[in-house]
Amino acid sequence: MLEVEDVVHRYGMVTALSHVSLSAGRGEFLTILGSSGSGKTTMLRVISGLEMPTSVKVLRIGGADVANLPAAKRNCTTVFQNYALFPHMSVVENVAYGLRIRKMNAADALREARRALAMVQLEAKADRRISQLSGGEKQRVALARAVVTQPAILLLDEPLGALDEKLRQDMQIELMELQRSLGMTFVYITHSQEEALTMSDRVVLMSHGRIVQSGGPLDLFDRPESRFAAEFMGYENILPARLIGREGTAGIVEFPGGARTRGVVTVEGLKAGDAVCVALRAERIAPATEGATDALKAEVTNRVYRGKYIDIALATDAGPLRLRSWHGSHVESEDIRRIGWNTNDAVIFAAE
């Protein structure tokens, strides 16, 4: 449905996109994840045609070559971050605008627009002015306006960014259901790993105008391939170490202090002797029982109470670690002497 090959885009001296390629199949929910300045929004604008890239090898939407077409001629629509609703038109006129442009007669356009509004539970507010809507409602109008023209691809630019936590979670579910029922290809931009993991079929992680890693939500969450990916996906503990042995995908590493541990190697081509990093999520570390193999000696240096959980800072043979306890008083009361983790939860990749 979407094929992009080798996009380069520069603003003056700044390279916003550097040889990026990606594709999305029919009905796929593809998320481009990255922090601000990663080039994800530029990527979306290149796809929509609002930005003409410095160079691109292939740019197809629904099989049609659109590399040289202006935005108005491309079979895709955008849900903008700030919604970009037309303030001088009513809600239903906003939604009908794309249909009117496609020369549908006024009565049919309004009827279709009302159907689209019904789909986002807003038919009751069809005749309101845009300024009378709440943020969440504007979001829905923008969504209805974009899908009513039945584009091959719907582009969404951080559409939930301005909504509050609760509404955002509801909208995530709603967006997923909408996408399944329309069978439409969604390309979704966000800086929130939570949104990316919840909704996507596939996630593309971007940084500095390049794709850092792409794959299913689980791959990104549990198998980061670089320090950047691990940090972005919320790994609290990233420790330097040296790879000393391999057994298939498993690797044995030695920390500077001499302690050893096992983990999963996520990148190809690492061999014994290479400098690596070991990444561990704080909540996957647990106090180990006395005498457990592979456990590390640890000493508690600080405790931070955070309501739902407690973050415990530890000094270990592997270096300083953070352990997250969800059991509250249970772990808090006991003095931690040894810690351990599941081999599957320790991820090994090349150090920078």
Binding site: A72, F86, Y97
Partner: protein
């Protein structure tokens, strides 16, 4: 816990209230403001009262009558100057609206719009007689026009344009260009985007700039004096009449009152469009 941060010792703040805390400063602003408003509106009100007084040259209103208005309407000498002023005003208003819209849309997109805007706004501060004399030479020598209707219109346009431009900029600088992108994204051509989205949103500013253009032209004297040739505009005619013949002064008062009563509501309409209606949408 012995490594606390230590700052230098500071004297505590004095509880005494200095003169700057005195309530008089707030009151001064309030009453000064009232005095200023009085200075602006009292003479205007006085003028209207005198225009309906039997003996306006006495300076004190009283013995009200509409006889000077009757005399004004019986007199046809002011009809042509009034017509000339109205027609020139309408032409200048329309051209101002179009020109200011085109230029006012382009200005905010520049890298340093401030400097360019300054150049456009300079006519506001160039002395009227300098600009009048300059345009006089320009129209006669360079354009080869005879002085009259069109040279006055040109002078008024140069005078009114900066006002129209400033007004248009109120709406064009606020205009959200992401709406243009949204329109294109939905498939609209550049023309459709302009007429369906940008034009309706800029409309209050365009109408206001036309109204202002009209008013600036309608009330202009200084440049008209240089550029009029034998054409008389309404303000020039009133000024000549008031200067030449004492007997005409009462009807000039009436004329001035009528012009005031037409101008003020137009001005209010322009500001309402710009600042009240715009904020509602």
């Amino acid at each position: 816990m012995e490594n606390r941060i230590a700052f230098a010792r500071v004297a505590p703040i004095s509880p005494k209230l200095e003169i700057s805390h005195a309530p008089v400063w707030k009151r001064l602003g309030k009453w000064g403001g009232f005095a200023m408003l009085g200075l602006i509106y009292f003479p205007l009100l006085w003028l209207i009262l005198l225009s309906i007084s039997r003996n306006p040259l006495g300076g004190i209103p009283g013995d009200f009558s509409l006889e000077h208005y009757r005399a004004l309407f019986a007199n046809s000498e002011w009809h042509m100057p009034m017509l000339a002023s109205l027609v020139i005003g309408v032409i200048v208003g329309l051209i101002c609206a179009v020109a200011a819209t085109i230029i006012g849309r382009a200005l905010p997109a520049l890298n340093s719009p401030g400097k360019v805007l300054f150049l456009f706004v300079i006519p506001l501060f160039v002395p009227g007689m300098s600009m009048g004399a300059a345009l006089l030479i320009f129209t006669r020598a360079v354009l080869g026009l005879k002085l009259g209707f069109w040279s006055v219109a040109l002078g008024h346009f140069v005078w009114a344009f900066p006002f129209a431009l400033l007004i248009i900029l109120v709406v064009t600088t606020r205009f959200d260009h992401r709406l243009v992108e949204a329109g294109r994204d939905l498939g609209a051509s550049n023309w459709r985007v302009f007429w369906d989205i940008e034009f309706p949103i800029l409309m209050p500013g365009i109408v206001s700039s036309a109204l202002f253009g009209f008013l600036m032209s309608f009330n202009e004297v200084m440049r008209s004096i240089f550029l009029r040739g034998t054409t008389e505009t309404m303000p020039v005619w009133s000024w000549v009449q008031a200067a030449a013949q004492q007997s005409q002064v009462p009807i000039i008062f009436s004329l001035a009152s009528i012009v005031l009563l037409i101008t003020l509501p137009l001005l209010c309409a322009a500001f309402w469009l710009l600042f009240v209606k715009l904020d509602k949408s």
